[in-house]
Symmetry: D2
Subunit: 450 residues, 4 copies
């Protein structure tokens, strides 16, 4: 029996049934291409179902709205819903059917979208909103049928030429107003669909040249915009997190939400550090000169960790390649930091990843995601082992143990001044003795969990 | 008559008299190698003497403490005061004599130093402090003789192996205490010498691997350290600025004071954003993925602009090359931002730049600085023209003029919500029309001031 | 009298007459926006007319074929010839009219194009070729009217999806054949139009992942392709240079023509080092980790210097931003190397530069180019002064003078072995004495020519 | 019984016996810190002993000659043989004892060295050579006792100030002569010790600025130098490979041996492509913008693959961090390319890796190497599985199968011209159909071997 989702006809993927857990000895072949070796969604990991620890989401834009172009080449995928001359709303419905078919085949609990991914831009904002609302109804039906939920929604404030000089940070307040109206619409749709969170990626909130830019004014505009979003969230009773997504640049030369540290300073300036959290992406971290783990650990330390965009960049290339993760060490390290900080919470692991543009078979969409899902599941199990064993954490605690001494406590609790410390160094003849940082041992230990 | 500084004997440089202003038609040759073409210190620029607009400083470490080594090679300069087997304090005095001779020849108003640049480390901190104090007395005498002043002092908390795992952020609170005592000593010396400011560069305040690091705890340690320094400054009545110097990494993999935005968030967290400012370096900006202008403009927008380390990095190399500036466009752009934001104030332009290690002639020290001084002077004159002409600034104001409209004011002054703006977009049929960003015109305009 | 080019109607640019030389005191303003301050085409520079030293070319693709999109946003320019639903050939003719109008206004001697820039792709290659031929006829007429010539033509082997896995290096030989047929067509058109040279940029001649790539086989394919092109050139009697354009990657992860050194090794392998030269681009040099000057000097040293793509990259961004040059130091340095190596010869300075996508006014096309032209003219004058003065070159010669000694000659002329040199070191007690590299003096000297 | 190497007293490491193979279930702990989980040297891998497939070598310089300094800090390791005031030759003997003790504990078959790592520089070259010879005798004895062999020797032509402007490429031919004499001495010692190969890393063979550089002349000097080395090798009957080690820069701004492709072009120019091969380092590949796999695959395709320096760089940092490898995916991918190309041959895997400078315990030297050895062993087993399974290779062959068609053969075997191919495209109505590149499937497949 082929239990294909009603409406997804003709079948877009060759696979009929959802991918099943097959155990570690399974290896993909032409005869049996699909099977999870590690993603066993009901398996308990640190007391929670694996599905609830990972909370995977498939994103709409890369997988369904992107047609395979790059700056030097055009469409390669030839998705039927991108056929020239088609009826845009019919194409949007077709796209939605295929999307939910993919969610079903992958057996993921969540999806994510921008308003412009799901429905065509109209002549006016009102018409655009109606288009979005119509597909929103399709989503409601499909979500009810499949149980797939919305991890977060977001507004596309960067593709249309009106946003070429920014949305909230545009030199023209009319653009700010337009963007505000658009966000209001998607935030409310997200709320209506039971979305878990709402994301803002400020792709054009930055500058190309300081020569035409009033940086201070633009930062103030951006702050006011974010405050309005938070106010509106409370007004409509939306309980999800508002998430900013840091990125250093691209498409802009400089994006204000450069990295986690920059976002934190910005939130503090506007008194929003308890209202807004971050959605961290591996590739964005890399472009900002950080590891993914760094951004995760820093967000946790600052109390603004929200959710993850799970992909990878190319370490030799200087742009957002948004590839599916494929390096087990990197994935396990990132998930170790997530678990160490208390887990993914209300966030999730959104695959903000796209196929390479040569991967033109519809089934490549299934492969790319399934491979990433399985890799993350495997990384989670390694991270669990690292955490349960406790040897790594014990090393860290041992290293800082001195801070529980009277001297350490006096310093941190404010009972010591420069004068007082200078006095103690002299009186107690303090001459600190270096201790090995043991980095190679710890790296070796980490690999022993693989 | 050779008016060489008494004590600087035998002469270290071939030049006898300070470099004079010779006007733009001067060109260096073997016969007449030295002369300022643009640095005319008493010339008024925007109402202030050029010397007071630029406030140049020569740094001690690169020019006098570094011996020419790099990670793959040893000493090349063979400075007499680095001779093996010499008496360290006598060598320190010799070094001081030559340093003040260079300041005199260059005719710069300021210098900068770390404690360990000027005097040898002793067996104990007390002995090190005595060494520093002794050279401090030499400085007082030389400063009185020459009129050269101290732009800022700083403590070296990164060279000695006790600091290999950080100073304030060390896992061992004894190291924190030792660092505190060391800072106290240099801050007080800086105060005694009439120093204008005090700098903290956290060269080891970061990590090599997250595996052995408690990032959150280390940030708290660093915050407490900085608070102590501010408290002590007030206690002793030091009126200068406390300056943090951002850098993304090197020697660490990650330094907490990554860039201006990171520092700002950190200051806000610890309530120090009105107490501490930043000392921005071109090469550090570059390593963090920013332009120098960006870091300057951002610091001004955030109200934490303090001072500059004037050098350049190599755009093809991934480490701190600390070269003397040599690109007029870059220098003029940076100084335009400085002037646009109100000038250098109590800060200055410190040449945190070192000779290439092949530049082994003593006179190369004179050349490197003199070339940089002249280039900055020329950049200042260009920046002055840009500012006085006003065409650039007028373009920026025209671009944002819409924010003075009722819509713009309602947004920024908090009278508009998402609901209200959505209503206006619909009611007023707002459909924003893009306007050219005119970047190429502005870049062309900038070049016309050269 | 408005001497606008016949056919360029309605006027696309506000400017009517070609931009005139106005002298250095000219400054652009709203009232008088256009004028060359340094580009005085008949002025003699090192014995040749400035126009003949620089041989500027405007490229078709960025200025007329690109519509302003980037990976995160769509069309911004709204060029009339890109209107949806228009007749493609009529649009191509309109585009050609505007292009030649721009060439006339800028008063440049050359242009450059890809086949697909100038005419629409047809259903078959034969139809595409007919389209190209038809516009070729338009070009012939316009070139005759205006005197504008073709610096080089090239085939677009990267935009269409058939080339997604490469052209000559495609796993499918049918793609190779198709590409060969396309190159034949453009090479012959280039010859017919009196083009000075022919360029090959292998935008997709590389790989995305080694996992699906037979690198050795692909290099052999590419070698054979290039040989065919050279054979065909000789067959048809084309006298221009065949030029490869190095780039390290983008759109591919790795492009085989990585940089000048890579191309040289490739040419040697296939015995083509005397048949093929390089077209060097500043932005490509930067992405490969080199300065523009390095690539120029290396190509000259290897005897394969051909032509230049004159643009700039953004030093903070990791992709090909293709901006108009705006840094005088960089431009002067590059042109100094060109002149030092004997000049641009049969090559030229092609502005492979695009407007920022916010620069949506038609006149921005004029501004971008005019600013670049003037900057290059100014750079040329500086380079001329550097060369005529000779002080820089004299320093270099002095530095290597020892190689004219008997020892130096014995080494280079093959009369010395390791044994012999070891003997001389011991016998003559050779202990080489380092000499200052004088880098700062030389940088200072360079700036004195500005 | 403690079977410590005679002479290594007092014991420098806590470990007494060589590390044993313990199997995959072993995990390091404080109680049992050492054991190989995968390195089982006699296990057959593709028909050869694992030891012979990997041919590990420990390098002398990082482990024994480096004292823990970095550009911002001094010595941290306090190796006894670096004590100030010690007898240099006695210290060199002590160092050799500890080195061979480490080789024994790790159970590695090879080591590598520079002349200046093993013995102090004397007042003259003759004295330096005597020092080297004396330690060479110590090596002979230790090698005989332990069975440890020499993978390659090399001359340090970069640390001493005489080489600050290059060795073979120095502006002074006396430096060339000195370098030649030094290489002769080490090449002969390498031969005497039965060394497998000889390496040249041109750390200073490049430039800091083009302004003082005659690039063409320096390339000619370097070519002549290399020819001399090859001539001498044949003269003395040395059978090992002469290996160049590519690196893009650092310490120079630009190094002539930039990457594998650059070296190949250089070898072709001088007719040395059959005489000289490359020693490829992961960190150098990364700095040149390549993956390690790329450099390996390219060298194999060009026929110049020689040996490997096995380490890793830090993907966020722009300098040579020379860390021990710790990423299984990267190591397995590199070893897959090695095996696919026929194995390591007469080369080896030299750990050109250094401890982090905080790793100050002597045992950290053991840990760093042991962890890397085990990771490489594991990577080798994965690579073996990938190769034996053959699914990856089959995909590649399938992808290029069309080149075995008549069209493909006609092209590669020279029977097709542009004219002929154009004719076929038209006549056969060739319209190539793109095929999926299947990258995600292949990446998934690779992970299934882990």
């Amino acid at each position: 029996m082929n239990d294909r989702l009603p409406g997804a006809s003709p079948p877009y993927f060759t696979l009929g049934r959802p991918i099943a857990y097959r155990g570690p000895s399974f290896r993909p072949s032409d005869a049996e291409p699909f099977g999870y070796r590690f993603y066993d969604k009901d398996r308990l990991v640190l007391g929670k179902r694996m599905e609830d620890q990972l909370r995977f989401a498939v994103c709409y834009w890369h997988s369904f709205a992107w047609s395979g172009g790059d700056p030097f080449g055009g469409e390669t995928f030839l998705r039927p819903w991108h056929a020239v001359g088609g009826d845009p709303m019919a194409q949007a419905r077709h796209k939605a059917d295929v999307a939910f078919e993919l969610f079903r085949l992958l057996d993921v609990p969540f999806f994510t979208f921008h308003d412009r991914d799901i429905a065509p831009e109209g002549e006016t904002l009102a018409e655009s909103n109606r288009n979005v609302a119509a597909i929103g109804e399709v989503f409601e039906a499909r979500m009810a049928e499949t149980g797939v939920r919305l991890l977060w929604g977001t507004a596309n404030l960067f593709t249309h030429r009106r946003y070429m000089a920014g949305a909230a940070t545009n030199p023209d307040p009319q653009v700010f107003a337009y963007a505000a109206a658009q966000v209001r619409n998607v935030l409310e749709l997200t709320h209506r669909l039971g979305g878990e969170n709402y994301v803002l990626w400020g792709g054009r909130e930055g500058y190309e040249t300081l020569l035409n830019t009033d940086l201070k004014r633009e930062l103030a505009q951006l702050g006011r915009f974010l405050q309005m979003v938070v106010e509106h969230k409370h007004k409509i009773g939306f309980k999800g997190m508002i998430l900013l997504e840091p990125k250093p640049g691209e498409p802009t030369k400089h994006q204000y939400d450069y990295d986690v540290a920059s976002v934190y300073g910005f939130l503090k300036t506007h008194g929003l550090e308890n209202e807004v959290k971050v959605n961290i992406e591996q590739n964005h971290a890399l472009l900002a000169g950080h590891t993914f783990e760094h951004e995760i650990a820093l967000a946790q330390a600052l109390g603004i960790f929200g959710s993850l965009d799970m992909n990878r960049g190319d370490e030799q290339l200087g742009w957002d390649t948004d590839q599916f993760p494929n390096n087990l060490s990197h994935v396990a390290s990132a998930l170790y930091e997530v678990l160490r900080g208390g887990g993914i919470g209300r966030g999730g692991l959104n695959f903000d990843a796209k196929l390479r543009r040569q991967s033109i078979d519809p089934d490549d969409l299934v492969f790319g995601h399934a491979a990433a899902i399985d890799l993350c599941a495997r990384g989670l199990l390694i991270a669990e082992a690292m955490l349960q064993d406790g040897a790594l954490q014990a090393e860290v605690e041992r290293r800082y143990a001195g801070w529980d001494s009277p001297l350490g406590r006096d310093i941190l609790e404010g009972r010591a001044s420069l004068d007082e410390l200078a006095r103690r160094v002299e009186q107690d003849r303090i001459e600190p003795q270096p201790v090995s940082g043991r980095q190679e041992r710890l790296e070796h230990l980490v690999n022993s969990y693989f």
